[in-house]
């Protein structure tokens, strides 16, 4: 489990991005760099059932649960989307299910990500947030049914 809360991590990210300033190019290059550092998703998990399709980029997302926490791994075919994913994983992976379900991911707006993301059709980021929350909800329901 993460030793930091979702909001603590969001604040860290906002601080990091504030150093980059307004320059769009450096922001994107930084995101791409983050993407390159993302722990790779094993090839056997890059399958249709893990796929979230954006208009132009693909995201594979795998979610597992352990002790009421959600563990996420993901990959994408574009470097920028991969970088955006790495931010989501950093914020949400290993967090408690309830925290994820109720998370308000305000860092996306604060770091000016809307400009990079562009329209929601362009990549799978928005669908990915939705999908992560759905996984958390599904695992929670599963736990409730077991008890």
């Amino acid at each position: 489990m993460s030793d930091k809360s979702i909001n603590q991590i969001q604040e860290e990210i906002i601080k990091e991005f504030s150093i980059l300033g307004d320059d769009m190019e450096s922001t994107i290059f930084y995101i791409m760099e983050l993407g390159n550092k993302l722990e790779p998703l094993e090839e056997q998990y890059k399958i249709e059932s893990n796929l979230i399709k954006g208009c132009q980029s693909k995201v594979w997302l795998k979610a597992d649960m352990k002790d009421h926490n959600l563990f996420l791994k993901a990959d994408s075919n574009t470097d920028i989307t991969k970088g955006l994913i790495s931010l989501l994983i950093r914020t949400l992976s290993t967090q408690p299910l309830d925290e994820i379900i109720h998370a308000d991911l305000y860092f996306i707006d604060k770091i000016g990500m809307q400009k990079v993301i562009g329209s929601q059709r362009s990549n799978g980021l928005i669908s990915m947030i939705k999908q992560i929350k759905l996984y958390a909800l599904a695992y929670k329901t599963k736990l409730q049914n077991q008890t």
Partner: protein, 420 residues
């Protein structure tokens, strides 16, 4: 550049002065992400000269009125200006009469009109419609819909590795079952100029009708529908410096007369009773409802603009731009141009071996350069090349050689950072 190309370019620039032309387009004079704006997305839509914007403004400020049946002064003026546009389009296409010019909402709408009206009247079970691998989805899906309804079949003319139609196979595919051949005049993804004259001649020999999707061609190539002898020609104003929401369907008079209206409403009727409605004459029977008056009037100014700059001059200049872009882009290590047809127009699609087109698009935008990335609404074509999409730069008369240099510089920069 070779000496010959330089000389040709210099002589073209004397005829076409891009700096002077750029001043006519207010939108070009701005910065995007702190960099001078470079617009290379002209195949998606062209920018609008001030005169087009002014014409729309003047209509709303001075003579906004519904057209055709009003008897007051403004209605007369609006009707006259609207109908003048029709006459200008007639002469732009060299159609034999203005009744053959139907205003639609765009190329997609024009093709749907033919699919629904011509298709319902003339298609029977087992008939065939022939399109090609390089068609835009708007020249695929309307035919799939009507084929499904009528039990007709869609046949596909394949292309070679350069992105040229395999004309030998065209002869094989044509038969007495072929009711319509619907082919793109210039490909939006590849830039290929198709041999439409030959296609039309051959199709007519077997009794098939021919529709040309002219969305990418109309602003660039000289057009004469009578000389081409095509049965239908579809185009969009917004790809010709005009407003969005206006398109044209040219159709041969006798054919349009045989076709039933496919949208009902005002404008398109002669007399309505609850028992029976009789339809208006051409072109009005296909123009149900109040049309997009303001933008049709704006389109008139766009055609004036093209006529004043002169199409042959523009074409020569745009070909020089394309030639230069090819030369420069081909030098980039790992870059592959998709679409290398001998006859080609102002579009260059490319892939960079280890960089996704989406990343290229976002990074170029950060450098102030607008291109398009993705499948360009031609997924079957992308599948033919075994790719998901391309990065596409498309040029117009206001683009410059220096802008192409900046594109190439930016691509080098992206590659350098990616491979660091």
């Amino acid at each position: 550049m070779t000496v010959k190309t330089i000389n040709e370019t210099i002589s073209t620039i004397k005829e076409i002065n891009p700096e002077k032309i750029r001043k006519l387009f207010p939108i070009l004079n701005q910065e995007i992400n702190g960099k001078p704006f470079i617009y290379f997305d002209n195949a998606a839509t062209t920018q609008k000269p001030l005169r087009v914007i002014n014409a729309i403004n003047a209509y709303y400020m001075g003579y906004n009125a519904n057209i055709h049946r009003g008897i007051h002064t403004l209605a007369e003026k609006a009707t006259a200006t609207f109908e003048e546009t029709r006459s200008m389009v007639r002469s732009f296409l060299n159609a034999s009469s203005k009744e053959e010019i139907i205003f639609t909402y765009g190329t997609t709408d024009s093709i749907n009109l033919v699919a629904q009206s011509f298709g319902r009247k003339f298609l029977q079970q087992g008939d065939e419609i022939l399109i090609s691998t390089m068609e835009h989805h708007s020249n695929i899906v309307p035919w799939q819909m009507i084929c499904e309804e009528k039990g007709a079949h869609l046949k596909i003319l394949p292309i070679n590795e350069k992105g040229e139609l395999l004309m030998d196979e065209f002869d094989e595919l044509l038969s007495s079952k072929t009711k319509l051949v619907s082919i793109v005049h210039v490909s939006n993804s590849l830039g290929t100029i198709n041999p439409v004259k030959e296609i039309i001649e051959k199709a007519h020999q077997t009794g098939a009708r021919v529709l040309l999707d002219g969305a990418q061609a109309a602003a660039h190539l000289p057009l004469d529908v009578q000389e081409l002898d095509c049965d239908f020609y579809a185009l969009s104003s917004h790809k010709m410096f005009g407003p969005t929401g206006v398109g044209v369907l040219y159709g041969k008079n006798e054919l349009l007369n045989e076709m039933p209206p496919y949208r009902g409403g005002g404008e398109m009727i002669r007399e309505v009773t609850f028992e029976k409605t009789s339809y208006n004459d051409l072109p009005f029977k296909f123009e149900a409802g109040t049309p997009n008056i303001a933008d049709v009037i704006g389109f008139r100014s766009a055609i004036e603009f093209i006529n004043e700059i002169s199409k042959p001059g523009m074409l020569k200049y745009e070909k020089a731009l394309l030639g230069y872009a090819h030369e420069q882009l081909e030098k980039i290590d790992g870059l592959k141009i998709i679409g290398t047809a001998k006859e080609k127009l102002s579009v260059v699609s490319f892939i960079l071996n280890d960089i996704h087109a989406f990343d290229i698009g976002v990074l170029l935008d950060a450098a102030g350069i607008a291109i398009r990335t993705g499948h360009h609404c031609t997924q079957p074509l992308m599948a033919r090349f075994g790719i998901e999409g391309t990065a596409r730069a498309s040029f117009s008369v206001y683009n410059t050689f220096e802008e192409i240099d900046k594109l190439v510089e930016s691509l080098h920069r992206i590659i350098k950072i990616k491979r660091k």
